[in-house]
């Protein structure tokens, strides 16, 4: 594990890009969520993820340079996080799997010395809340109505199929499996670890939205 003096830039970028891209998609829900409480909750989670991305970027460079002026091809986020949201069930499924993965990863990183360890220790607390939130909704939707059960299962099937790209630990897989079972849903199958995939046009679309203002004001500060 890296120490404060020797940060694994590639790993930090991947963590930060995952957080930034996931935050962006969650923030698209604001003023569109199923209830006002959920507007608050999703905004809160998006804000936590954005905060994590900012701290991680600051370890390796300038946050705005990295977020706003890096080519899409240099982003290290998992493709599953750049895809459009789909319905609330799909969003919850994605959040469940992301939070399970991040929780395991940040927990192990929190043991490290230095800045990364401190960032991870703070992130673990935030991600525990994200995990709880996603678990509560997975169970409610899975064990709610016929329609919600179907939608939650569809969302889960779609997100689970690409989860391997985040390389979740066994601990994360076990945790998610237990939640899915509690929710009376079907566990889609084994998680196949795969390399991070080539980005899609979805990331181009996401970044061009993010950069809509900065693109027409080059050199400006905000």
């Amino acid at each position: 594990m890296s120490s404060s003096s020797e940060v694994d830039t590639g790993m930090v970028l991947a963590l930060a890009d995952d957080a930034l891209v996931a935050s962006h998609r969650l923030s698209e829900w604001i003023a569109r969520a199923p209830s006002i409480e959920e507007d608050v909750a999703l905004a809160n989670i998006a804000l936590d993820l954005l905060g994590q991305a900012r701290l991680l970027y600051a370890l390796i460079g300038d946050e705005d340079e990295l977020a706003y002026r890096r080519p899409a091809g240099a982003f290290r986020n998992a493709v599953m996080l750049e895809r459009p949201n789909g319905d609330f069930g799909a969003t919850i499924a994605r959040l469940l799997l992301l939070a399970a993965h991040q929780h395991a990863l940040y927990s192990s990183l929190a043991a490290a010395d230095g800045d990364l360890g401190a960032i991870a220790a703070k992130a673990v607390k935030e991600v525990s809340y994200h995990r709880d939130h996603a678990r509560a909704w997975t169970v409610r939707l899975g064990d709610g109505t016929e329609e919600s059960h179907r939608r939650m299962q569809d969302g889960l099937d779609a997100e689970w199929a690409v989860w391997g790209e985040l390389a979740p630990t066994q601990e994360a897989v076990d945790w998610a499996t237990a939640v899915i079972t509690q929710a009376t849903l079907r566990v889609p199958g084994p998680v196949l670890a795969v390399e991070r995939q080539e980005h899609t046009a979805d990331l181009d679309e996401l970044l061009s939205t993010m950069r809509e203002v900065t693109a027409v004001h080059p050199g400006a500060t905000w």
Binding site: A31, A33, L50, E212, V213, T214
Partner: protein
């Protein structure tokens, strides 16, 4: 003298369990619901800019702000519910147009500078309107207002600071900031409502301790605060008649086009349909989620009882 009259006369707080006249209750329900709806609809014009914020710091500030507004909506619906109404019914009244929200949110947010101008002017006007409500006669509303006003002052300062950065930035940024102020100034003045002479419910609300100052008094207070701030920003306010009146110790300002306000209130503003349409769509799209939550809770209840 009834307990209610005694409380009002003593400038004490009326609490949910106290007896109160039906008209007092109805007036409060209408006002608090309209206020709650404004917080919720108000998430839209700025929320649309979260994904496009030009720096991660500004993005975080805006996300937190819009989250605060949703929270304000929740406190206010809870305050309204202490009067015996139900949030679902109030939302229904919003969706069907039976209850209103602040007309300010029926103007479009066209550029990033609008986010800053809204923070400075719209949150700024809201504070001037709402600080006195922190002392209004109905306890739950007054307490909600105290809490909300603290957050609104953050929003106002953040908007000012963002606008200042743009005003002192590139010529294109400065022009964008000026354009936003030009468009939001007059609608912000209209947030204080019709002139006192045409304000139908004012006298009664004043007698009941709901309203502490008249529309025109609050409007003047806002202008007096905003003029020096605009100067500090290096931006001009779009009113050639702004003039310091030595005698009054206040700024004179031009005539407000209340015909426009009436048009916007009656549903003909630039964004009325978009705002309500988006709100109704979110509610309808989320119906299956709320049904699932209710079904799950009911099952848990049965399991718990078994």
């Amino acid at each position: 003298m009834s307990t209610f009259e005694a409380l009002i006369a003593a400038q004490d707080r009326v609490e949910p369990r106290d007896e109160m006249p039906g008209d007092y209750r109805a007036t409060l329900v209408r006002q608090i619901a309209q206020h709650a709806h404004s917080e919720i609809i108000g998430m839209q014009p700025e929320g649309d800019w979260i994904t496009r914020a030009p720096s991660l710091r500004r993005k975080a500030i805006l996300l937190a702000k819009v989250q605060d507004e949703a929270g304000h909506g929740l406190y206010l619906y809870a305050a309204a519910e202490t009067l015996g109404v139900d949030r679902d019914d109030l939302l229904e009244a919003l969706h069907t147009g039976r209850q209103k929200y602040s007309s300010i949110f029926n103007y479009p947010s066209l550029t990033w500078a609008d986010v800053a101008a809204i923070g400075w002017l719209v949150d700024g006007a809201a504070i001037v309107n709402q600080v006195p409500l922190g002392r209004c006669s109905y306890g739950p509303y007054a307490r909600a207002m105290v809490r909300i006003c603290k957050e609104e002052s953050f929003h106002q300062r953040q908007g000012f600071e963002s606008l200042l950065t743009m005003s002192r930035g590139t010529p294109a940024q400065h022009a964008m900031a000026q354009d936003a102020v030009d468009r939001w100034w007059w609608p912000s003045l209209m947030m204080f409502g019709p002139p006192d002479a045409e304000s139908p419910h004012s006298a009664r609300s004043t007698a009941w301790g709901i309203k502490r100052f008249s529309n025109d008094t609050l409007r003047q207070r806002f202008v007096d605060l905003a003029v020096p701030q605009a100067e500090a920003l290096g931006l001009t306010l779009p009113d050639p008649d702004l003039r310091w009146d030595e005698e009054r110790g206040s700024w004179d300002f031009g005539t407000i086009d209340f015909t426009e306000l009436r048009e916007v209130v009656s549903g003909n503003g630039p964004c009325n349909e978009v705002r309500i349409g988006r709100r109704v769509a979110a509610h309808e799209d989320g119906a299956w989620v709320r049904e699932a939550a209710a079904a799950y809770a009911a099952k848990q209840g049965t399991r718990g009882a078994a």
